[in-house]
Subunit: 229 residues, 2 copies
Amino acid sequence: MVVRSRKGTGRTRRAGEAPLPRAVIERLARYHQITSRAGAAGQSYISSAELAELVGVDATMVRKDMASAEISGRPKVGYFIGDVISRLDQVLGLEQRKDAVLIGAGSLGSAIARYGGFGRFGLKISGVFDADYSRVGQSIGDHVILPMEKCKSVIQIFGVRIAVLTAPASAAQELADWLVGQGIRGIWNFAPVDLRVPAGVVVRNENLALGLAQFLHQLSKAEGAELRV
Amino acid sequence: MVVRSRKGTGRTRRAGEAPLPRAVIERLARYHQITSRAGAAGQSYISSAELAELVGVDATMVRKDMASAEISGRPKVGYFIGDVISRLDQVLGLEQRKDAVLIGAGSLGSAIARYGGFGRFGLKISGVFDADYSRVGQSIGDHVILPMEKCKSVIQIFGVRIAVLTAPASAAQELADWLVGQGIRGIWNFAPVDLRVPAGVVVRNENLALGLAQFLHQLSKAEGAELRV
DNA sequence: TAGATTGTTAATCGATTAACAATC
DNA sequence: TAGATTGTTAATCGATTAACAATC
């Protein structure tokens, strides 16, 4: 076995596959968004200064981030937007089309199912499921809500490896276990629970309550500062 | 003027008001969530080891975080859950009741308006508004959708300083400008746009597309690792 | 060419971890 | 008391910034 990584070294990968730190990835995703918008507005090049301004970081850091994504620009001109997007698509893993099932057709689930914007990232919702029979059969956007019993076969037929979990907190862990058993390898979790999954399964918690707590903290800090000045 | 902060020093505040780094705040919010749950389950004390395990960080870091929030525990016992929650409520600014207006009663806005869970953080939605007259008058949860024209007076009457912005991206900046003009000091923004606001106004972007991009990156990394092993 | 912008190396800063002392 | 757990200081590590060289 060649690939063997000791904690913290991260030196055991093929060239060009350096594991980028989370902070870098977050910024790359923002560059992607901004650059796409600039491209849609007709721009062909974008400078590190412009990106830095919009993201609120130092231009040097933008250039470093670009370097770590192996994107190079041209002195006096900037980065070619086509390059930036196609390379960031690769780095962020937005290229291949990916099927997903959505579990839980409550109000948040419906909002996500209806929102078409994720197609841009290659994410395709192949089926929307709910355990509540009173919801089954209703349509949300292009989808018809299916009973959980059908979920297993949809996962198999389409080879789905991603689940969007918008079920109630009380059911989330049990559903996650079941999904992993069916071959799901990534869960985009909107239930306010820290899911426990086996190693190798990726969970991203989109925890709105945490976001709100952070927002309120910023706010109370800002109000405090105001009172003091 | 006593309060004068030179960039980077952060040494010019009253004792006990050290500006906690964002990473610490994020963890504190998670401790808050976990501790609340443990309390609800009947536990009275929680150890740094338990928190560390659930959050996926080192126990030493939990203790340091607790220290920076001025929460102290008892050797051999752990942290008293009552202390943790009440102190974190203070630090995170979850104590006072805060009124908010919600702008944009589309599917995401409706999901948020319907979701009662934010009351726990002191956030109270005082009114739901939409510019689309076909939506006005419909009810979502406990709220009735009001026309934008009424928004101004609701802000004034209740002294609202927080807005939840779930309008389409195309309208978001204009709405933000208007809201700030009406006295709003904090915007919890769900539109996929980086809002520009005057200094002193707090914006938190809850950008699902960024979240998805990060999730997909993790996933592609994990799949890659799998193939290599 | 001169000037603007990228690219890179070195220095700084801050956050995390390790080691161990303090305490119930 | 012995043992478990918190609390704190010092060491390490990584990320950010500054300075400057390279290049179109």
